[in-house]
Symmetry: C2
Subunit: 356 residues, 2 copies
């Protein structure tokens, strides 16, 4: 799961979504990907129109691929709450700076599709149907009761950026979305064009897919704040659902970029979440942001150099205003970024956060 794989853009997948009722075929179905792979906006619009006609609600999970259990947690939430789920796989150039890792960002389309195809969600009402006496075959019945991802949208860069998309902001032409006031601090301070890229591509996806619900992970907390504001300000009718961070056994937040790390560093990185937990403990008796932050820094510096901590910061949940004191009734976001050694001999940025 952690190894980068080659991205085969030219290979075209087009499995049609079919439902089988016989036991033998239903068993076969469990190992074969029964997911529609959509490559163009026109294909997605057609799929969407079909869902409208059938009265199906649509959940949308945007991803950049290199899927892991964190993404699967978003998918599971969408399967639970919607009739149909569409997952996008698109490494969005406009959120990378020229010096960042667009070219080396982990890609593994085949493995991603396989992982999504294996993903099943059994609605809580289903067990009684599986054991139902009127059902001649519990396996077949179970295969029908389960829901799974209906479609993957994996467009080309040209499909998403008809005006082209050079990485240098000064050279970019065409329509872009910015969320003023929430995009220049924290991650935005380190990556000045990042949230403009995120907001722009999410706007495009919302316009193409028109989902009822869109899913984001709590790990990218500033992204959730930016997207919520975008959805509200640009008057979209959909709901933004934030799903808790999925963590490795040692507490490390799952991230596609963890693929860059050695096993040793992945183990050492346990100090990050441990630090955040210490901070939560500190917050029980302490509202001074400096002391809360110190608890995090102390833990991280057990394994990593202090100068590799890009920021540890306490911010308002909606305005992202930096706080000196946490108001106990309002709470706050405690978030951080740390640069840790990777297997290429350079550094990889890890981010994490907790809500106080």
């Amino acid at each position: 799961m952690y190894r980068p794989r080659t991205f085969r853009t030219l290979r075209s997948f087009c499995y049609s979504f079919t439902r089988f009722s016989s036991t033998a075929i239903a068993t076969e179905l469990k190992s074969a990907p029964a997911i529609q792979i959509l490559r163009t906006k026109a294909q997605v619009r057609k799929w969407r129109a079909q869902q409208i006609m059938k009265g199906n609600s649509v959940g949308f999970v945007p991803t950049m691929g290199a899927l892991h259990d964190g993404h699967m947690s978003l998918v599971r939430s969408s399967l639970r709450m919607n009739d149909k789920t569409l997952v996008s796989i698109f490494v969005n150039p406009s959120q990378f700076a020229p010096n960042e890792d667009l070219a080396s960002y982990p890609r593994g389309f085949d493995a991603d599709i396989a992982m999504l195809a294996e993903m099943r969600y059994l609605p809580s009402a289903a067990p009684s149907r599986v054991a139902s006496p009127e059902s001649s075959s519990s396996l077949s019945s179970s295969a029908v009761a389960e829901t799974q991802v209906d479609a993957v949208f994996a467009p080309t860069v040209e499909e998403m950026y008809p005006s082209g998309i050079p990485l240098e902001v000064e050279a970019q032409r065409g329509a872009f979305v910015t969320v003023e006031g929430l995009s220049s601090q924290l991650e935005g301070a380190m990556r000045p064009q990042f949230f403009r890229g995120v907001a722009t591509v999410i706007t495009k996806f919302l316009n193409i897919i028109q989902p009822e619900r869109v899913y984001f992970g709590q790990k990218d907390v500033q992204q959730t704040v930016v997207v919520k504001r975008l959805v509200s300000d640009l008057c979209y009718g959909c709901v933004v659902i934030v799903v808790p961070t999925t963590r490795a056994a040692n507490g490390l937040a799952l991230s596609s970029r963890n693929a860059y790390l050695t096993d040793q560093v992945r183990e050492d990185a346990a100090v990050i979440y441990r630090g955040l937990q210490h901070a939560v403990d500190t917050y029980r008796t302490e509202t001074d942001a400096k002391k809360i932050i110190a608890a995090v820094v102390d833990s991280i510096t057990e394994k990593f150099a202090a100068e590799d901590i890009e920021y540890v910061c306490v911010n308002d949940l909606e305005t992202l205003e930096e706080l000196e004191n946490v108001h106990p009734l309002k709470g706050a976001i405690l978030s951080l970024a740390v640069r840790v050694p990777n297997s290429f001999g350079t550094k990889t940025r890890l981010i994490d956060n907790v809500i106080l």
Copy 2:
């Protein structure tokens, strides 16, 4: 039509759309506004969902009110091409600079609704139905065959800008849309935040209304270029329809801001379109932009001071790049802005253009 009217924001209109079949009531209908007035995003979404369920296509005509025959030309195009037409009336604060005329912009909601309610479009197929022998009353039949505006969306500023909208760009927070490369020349050079405001509010409207087609006047030519790019880049599924400029008898392009002018200046302003026509004549034998522009300037300066001409410019139709020579196979936009004396003793900007 040219006099500013007071805007009664608090008065709530809510006529329901009903179809009558008896001759007497159909005649009555002709004078009464049978238009739904929608005030909230939720009302529009409900209206839109009804159209989807009925399989009705929706045409959208965005306006800032103070309607004139130019707007009616857009409405007529929409009635002709769509099952249902929605007109928005919203004076968009984000496209006004602090020193511009947001407060004094002409508003006349009652007159606007009355004008829209009187607007009827008789489909070309209809005449045979009107004269049809199986129809017991040609008047009643005609009332049914005619189409008219179905709904007006007239939201408050708070409804459209949930994060608020101070006029100073530096103080603005929340999501905004910019169209890079097309927003800083011509009108954008004089009004640096104008197209950001236009692009942002159009994005909001498209998200709320989800029309099949959206209508703009050729008079605001740069706006049509910006919106076309926005619709393409942000991956909207709708089509942008550009409707030719409607002109007064003397050639003056209709504009809500013409309400600011005295009769004398409105008469003098005939030199503007006359200049554009001279330029079109010049272009028959001349591709040098300087000479084409000179034809316009010579005409305008017959009545107005040269220093009141803000710009006369020849630009590429898609990129808006300024051209020194017009390529006969590509054509160009010839556009201008002139400041003319108004009845307040200050100056009003008039814009106009022709396609070469």
